[in-house]
């Protein structure tokens, strides 16, 4: 009888070959996935950057050295490091470092909103089309194709033009252009499992279509959707920043990163940091999402060899 420490026994419990309960099996699957992901240095790097982003957003009021909105025209366009301004000041004398921190909140807000809308819409459209089949399938997929055929940024521009500039409208516009790929994926997944035996079994037990789709089809679609969402995240951030840059997303004085680049644009030749630093932040975040997305794809999608 060897004595095992609690962590070791937890590990053993998670890695057991014969899980005793559904909960244990599920947790074990998550744990094994985590172990695989941990071996992927680049994906972990991405995860780390995102963790920093989230922490920065949560603790922005504590970490900020200045009020992100306080203007001080006497101290405008200070170089990084000057006078206690870590990353310098912009054309209105606002501290760029503090604005960057608060801007992280806006970026996360945009990403969260899009993620709550686009994949859900896509999932519903795709599974309904795939499960119902027939005319409904044709109609829904044709709508999806129409949206796919539209260039994304231009469509988002047109939507924002109709709805008016602002963060919520930018989010709505991005979500409206982002859902079609999810619908495609969800439909493909639904078609492969629609006629499988376990669905037949559930049908024989008397489950209706609603129950089958929500309880048995959706869970099977989740993992491919998660990969796609993570890989899409960079595109979402870039589109949002692009809209902000064009003056169609977040409005001044909001410290949205794209809008910050736009404000710094006219000073680029003399005060490079004003536009450059928020751009670096956008780049870091979307790179992090791409790295994590690649890692997740390798982990959750062993069918294809992506290395």
């Amino acid at each position: 009888m060897s004595t095992t420490s609690p962590t070791q026994s937890l590990r053993a419990w998670l890695l057991t070959e014969e899980p005793a309960s559904r909960r244990q099996a599920r947790l074990a699957a998550w744990y094994k996935a985590w172990l695989t992901l941990r071996g992927n240095t680049l994906a972990m790097l991405g995860l780390g950057v995102l963790a920093v982003l989230i922490l920065a957003a949560i603790f922005a009021p504590l970490l900020a050295t200045h009020d992100p909105f306080a203007q001080d025209l006497g101290r405008r366009l200070l170089a990084p490091g000057a006078d206690g301004h870590l990353l310098g000041t912009d054309s209105l004398g606002r501290d760029i470092y503090s604005r960057l921190l608060y801007g992280a909140r806006i970026s996360l807000y945009i990403v969260a909103l899009v993620v709550m809308v686009a994949p859900v819409v896509g999932l519903i459209m795709g599974t309904v089309a795939g499960y119902a089949g027939g005319v409904l399938d044709v109609v829904l997929m044709r709508i999806t194709d129409i949206f796919l055929a539209f260039p994304r940024l231009i469509l988002a521009l047109a939507f924002v033009a109709a709805l008016g500039a602002g963060i919520e409208n930018a989010v709505l516009a991005i979500a409206l252009t982002a859902w079609p790929p999810y619908a495609r994926i969800a439909r493909a997944e639904t078609l492969t499992i629609r006629n499988s035996e376990y669905i037949q079994a559930i049908k024989l037990q008397g489950a209706g279509p609603l129950r089958i789709v929500t309880r048995h089809v959706w869970p099977m679609c989740i993992s491919s959707l998660v990969i796609r969402v993570t890989l899409d995240m960079a595109g979402i951030i870039l589109t949002a920043a692009g809209l902000g840059f064009l003056g169609l997303g977040a409005q001044p004085p909001s410290p949205e990163w794209g809008a910050m680049i736009s404000e710094g644009r006219q000073y680029i030749l003399d005060s490079w940091w004003v536009a450059t630093i928020p751009g670096l932040a956008i780049f870091a975040i979307s790179l992090a999402f791409n790295l994590l997305g690649d890692g997740l794809r390798d982990m959750l999608d062993p069918k294809e060899d992506h290395s």
């Binding site: 055929a149 260039p151 960079a234 920043a241 840059f245 064009l246 680029i268 030749l269």
Partner: protein
């Protein structure tokens, strides 16, 4: 009776499969384009701007208002309005631009060559660099070249293009002075070349104005390189994965066993088989650049379609915005269909 109907069925002249497929494709295109128009139509309708006031201004009398209201067809049912709209667009009439006072079609014809020139040069750069990079990355899989190619792709996917444009301007124009600044042409070179195609590089070369050509080139090279980098990121990644698929197949092993040189195996056999796939990828990259040039054009003050749409948007000039959207959307759909057709024609496996 039964035999007779069956015989009839056999004898009935049915369309050849190729024609049938083409008809089906055409129908799909028509429905997609109609959907596109419906979306732009609805966007135009939910606008918070009163289209009548946009035309006649705030001070018009009620009678003038009613007259214009009827002239614009706003008293008709929505479906009829949509019909009129589609008919106008099909005839190439996108209405009048409030900002420039000209027909949107005229405006677009004026600005489009600039975008086309930029996107074409960008795609050219992306293909000439991206394809070899992708092939080499696949052949030398797992080596440092492969890692570099992966990094190039990842960075390309993650970089905000407008920011890269600013930094590029700062470095190559502001600090190094290697290229000219924003715009298409320096002030001393303007108005010399009579436009033929509207594409400055082509026109100045055709007219033999080499000083203008050099100046135009020094203006276009930076934005075109940036766009080229984006298509490079996409093209090299796709080339690599296509090549990996081929290099792992049996005929490549056979070719190697036969003793063919590595060059012959890679370029003579494997690469030959991905040409069609590659063509579709390049077509898609090209379509993406036409759209992706929106932000680049703003940064470089490039007087193209992207800048036209954005400026019109900020001026609430909906006819211009929707006209531009329809043009880009149609090109997008067109290129997609074209690459699909090319695939079907040149790849015997798809038959």
């Amino acid at each position: 009776m039964v035999d007779a109907t069956q015989g009839q069925g056999r004898l009935r002249p049915s369309l050849p499969p190729f024609l049938k497929k083409t008809l089906k494709t055409l129908l799909t295109v028509a429905v997609t384009l109609l959907g596109l128009l419906f979306v732009t139509f609805m966007i135009g309708r939910v606008m918070p701007i009163d289209p009548v006031l946009a035309v006649i201004g705030e001070r018009a009398t009620q009678e003038q208002y009613n007259q214009t209201y009827r002239d614009l067809g706003l008293d008709q049912p929505l479906l009829a309005q949509f019909g009129i709209y589609v008919w106008d667009v099909v005839r190439g009439d996108f209405g009048q631009s409030i900002r420039t006072g000209q027909q949107v079609t005229t405006d677009i014809a004026r600005v489009f060559p600039a975008t086309l020139e930029l996107a074409t040069l960008g795609t050219f750069l992306g293909v000439t660099l991206g394809v070899p990079l992708g092939v080499v990355a696949a052949v030398r899989r797992g080596t440092w070249i492969d890692q570099v190619a992966r990094l190039v792709g990842l960075v390309g996917y993650s970089m905000p293009i407008f920011w890269l444009g600013l930094v590029g301007l700062l470095i190559f124009y502001g600090i190094l002075g290697w290229v000219s600044g924003p715009g298409r042409l320096g002030i001393f070179h303007q108005g010399i070349v009579e436009p033929i195609t509207g594409m400055l590089l082509l026109d100045s070369a055709l007219r033999g104005e080499w000083a203008v050509f050099r100046n135009a080139f020094s203006h276009i090279i930076l934005p075109a390189s940036l766009l080229g980098y984006y298509s490079l990121a996409y093209i090299s990644r796709m080339t690599r994965s296509f090549m990996l698929e081929q290099l792992g197949s049996e005929y490549v092993i056979t070719a190697r066993v036969k003793g063919l040189s590595e060059w012959q195996v890679v370029w003579g056999h494997a690469f030959r088989n991905i040409r069609v796939q590659l063509l579709t990828v390049i077509a898609l990259a090209y379509a993406n650049l036409l759209e992706g040039s929106v932000l680049t054009e703003i940064i470089f003050a490039w007087p193209g379609l992207g800048q036209y749409i954005t400026t019109s948007l900020l001026a609430n000039d909906m006819n211009a915005v929707l006209g531009g959207t329809i043009v880009i959307g149609t090109i997008f759909v067109g290129i997609n269909i074209l690459s699909d057709l090319l695939y079907r024609i040149f790849d015997p496996r798809s038959k």
